[in-house]
Amino acid sequence: MPSWRYIFLRERFPADHESYVRNRYPIALGGIAVKRIFRVPVAVVISVCLLLFIGSTQDTAGQTARTFRMMAGEPSSLDPNLVTDFSTYLIVQLFEPMYILRTDGSLQMLGARSVSTSADGLTWTFRLNPAYKWSDGQPVTAADYEFSWKRDLDPKVGGTVSVFLLDIKNASEFNSGKITDPSQVGVTAVDNYTLRVTLAHPAPQFRAVVGLPYLQPVPKLVVQKWGDKWTDPSHIVSNGPYKLTSWQHDKQIVLDANPYYGGTKPSIKHAVISITSTDPCVAQLRAFEANEIDFATCVPPQEISRVMKDPKLGAELKRLPMSGTVWVQFDNSRAPWNDVRVRQALAMVVDRKAIVDAITQGTATVAPVLVAKDIPGNNPVDALHGSVAQAKQLLAAAGFPDGKGFPKFTIMASAARSQKQIAELLQQMWSDKLGVSSQVSVLEENAYRAWIKARNTEPYEAVIEQWYSDYADPQDWYDLVWAKDYRNIHYSDPAFTKLVDQGEAELSAQKRVALFRQANAILEKDQPCIALYYPADLWLFKPYVTGLHIDQGTLNLYYIASAHFTK
């Protein structure tokens, strides 16, 4: 008998068949008895696995500190005219507007050298910085800005930021299709480096609007040549500190420093952004802990405690309050939500601290009033206070003593941003303290957004929503959210609307703030929505990454160009 058999089998030849059979394929010493025919493929599979383990060292992208590694979701498009909340983080690395509005109100000049206004506030002149060039070496001219802004307004393109440019003369007519000739819009390139903008009416917030990160120029010649495909990695050119080297969809984006950039050259020359399509907070934390990325932009709510207590991670954690508010809003046009006593009663029993603790482990801030802290016009003094007893009285006065007769309503929430848990907490609070019963309905994110937009004409009851500042101006809040009803709250109070309109047109800063303050008082008394908390981002930085500038006034946008490695 060949000796190799003894390696795998212990063969014996007993007299009876039972033990013969039982010993035919016994478990061998330390190994698994495999049938002859399966030995080869099993051996192959095992050796391949071993090879994989041994033959592959950590093959994550770049262990050297030279490459800046991060993780984000897939951007919808790299076209600055088609920017969305899901692509702006990447577009601002590639493209730069004329200037940025700092949190203290001053301007940081980028693509422009200076800006001046005429006495009547209708004509704005921007002088551009000739040092700025596209990543193919061509200069950034006023014609590029004119082309970009008109393309923003072009109804055929379907730009997403046209709403910010509607103060310009003929802009809304062009955007709605009433006029079709773009040359009638009040944006003109006077010469290569001068852009003149004519407004339809005086609008002091236009200064902040131009400083938005959304109104970047696009390369006129490239866009005209390649059309929709101009954002392909082989065609795209950008005027910002970085250029796009490659974009493997849903996999990876690689950025390299723009050699022709007209501003301060960035310290980080090479950045790799890995794309995730699952919960970005969970994926980022895991990759950060495994040393695969250099910074993370959020921490999953359930991990916050552990991360804060961990000596290493806790030191790498940075808390960044956002300029925004999370609230629960009602359909103010329907009963019983059109009764202010109902809304006030529901507002008085909400335990905001419990929500902040449970959802954000105390990292967010309780919101006493609806408008964010840094917005002029905001006044926490206006906050509505009341005890549970008072709330019960109000509800009784509205016709629902002890919650009897109050219709069971639906709180809509998105599956993202812990809205599900917020809704469950509110449901319990209202049921316990007021006897009002409700049910929670969760929609996946896209269905949720569609549902919100449909609320323009469709009725609803309650929904968890939020708003983040685009710029630190009261108009972005009082006007867009409640007067223009961008969130379909259907709140209308003539006194409030009048104050907001006056405040918008008011040129004197002091008087403006005073007007918006009066509006704030009315808003808080009416409680069309119940403010819950001001969210705060939790970011993690590896100790060798410093200096990353984060614009807390606008969606916590960050600029890789401002960061550098310390080791």
């Binding site: 035919r24 999953p300 639906t410 319990q428 929670v440 609803y460």
Partner: protein, 324 residues
């Protein structure tokens, strides 16, 4: 060798368990299924325990909805046997009520699948010819759909149309949908995804028995097609239906868990094992018990269901008739 060994083993089994089996054969079918071997006995006891917990869940001190933010994410303790979840709700109560939801989903969606499958299958099998091939063409087409993807599509459709306010033409459906906490949507989604196997099995069985003499006799005496199917054919298809059911129930539980992951499961705060596992994944590194416990619960239940399912299939297998 193996052949002889297996034969010998079977004979040994029969010899050793002859008394027990003879006694069992007199008992109703459930006892035969459950008490066949030691393993199946254990599995059925486990299942009874789980069903008992599900049934008596309302008797637990803490309900699954009582929130207490102060004690959130606490580990097991005397007060809360399995700890609390992210909002301070008792984990054991949520597990027990989750058992209710999961068992309702499993059983009800299987019933939906069985109803549709039996109806379509018997019609196709009995009518034969043109109607049969048309229907089977449809069934083949539905087979070409991936399970999960079809469930996602259906669920998005149902949820999109039925969540929201009770108004409009679908008001009645919306009301039922909300009254069941979103269960109805999940039920129909899973049921509509799983009826195909049932349909095929029933059709196959009916095709093989529809040419029996008693069927011809019944037709001669003037019985209508519906009567023949209901009285003569369907009772003889119980075996494949049971087989299909034992395959569909564990599948339904898994599908519900999968839908919960995508956010198309039951509405919160209704607890279900699938949604508990999804929440547990997000807490995996900080609070691993929030994943382990529902995962073990689902695994154990499915294990018992599969063991019992095998037992049923073994009993019903015509080739093993008489040998149990």
């Amino acid at each position: 060798m193996i052949l002889k060994r297996t034969n010998r083993l079977a004979e040994d089994e029969l010899r050793a368990n002859a008394q027990r089996l003879r006694a069992l054969r007199k008992r109703p079918i459930f006892a035969r299924v459950a008490l066949r071997t030691k393993v199946t006995t254990l599995a059925s006891l486990m299942l009874l325990l789980i069903l008992g917990v599900a049934l008596f869940a309302p008797l637990l001190p803490y309900g699954p909805y009582r929130q207490d933010v102060e004690i959130r994410n606490a580990g097991p303790s005397v007060e809360h046997w399995l700890g609390t979840d992210q909002l301070g709700r008792d984990f054991f109560a949520r597990l027990a009520f989750g058992a209710r939801v999961s068992s309702i989903v499993a059983v009800a969606s299987t019933l939906v699948a069985l109803t549709i499958g039996v109806a379509v299958g018997s019609v196709a099998g009995y009518l034969g010819g043109r109607a049969d091939s048309v229907i089977m063409r449809l069934v083949d087409a539905m087979y070409a759909f991936p399970d999960l993807l079809f469930a996602v599509l259906l669920s998005a459709l149902i949820k999109g149309n039925l969540s929201g306010n009770i108004s409009g033409p679908l008001a009645g459906l919306i009301f039922v949908y909300h009254a069941t906490g979103g269960l109805m949507g999940v039920l129909f989604t899973i049921g509509l995804t799983s009826w195909l196997t049932v349909c095929r099995l029933v059709r196959g069985q009916i095709l093989s028995i529809k040419h029996a003499e008693y069927v011809d006799a019944a037709r001669c005496t003037g019985a209508s097609g519906l009567y023949i199917v209901r009285v003569h054919l369907l009772p003889n298809t119980i075996a494949p239906i049971m087989v299909a059911a034992t395959l569909a129930i564990p599948n339904a539980v898994i599908l519900e868990a999968g839908l919960s992951f995508i956010g198309l499961g039951v509405d919160p705060p209704t607890p279900s094992w699938g949604s508990m596992i999804v929440d547990g994944i997000n807490s995996l590194e900080s609070y691993p018990y929030q994943l382990w416990i529902p995962a073990v619960a689902i695994g154990l239940t499915l294990l018992c269901l599969n063991i019992l399912g095998d037992s049923i299939r073994d009993i019903l297998d015509p080739r093993l008739q008489g040998r149990l």
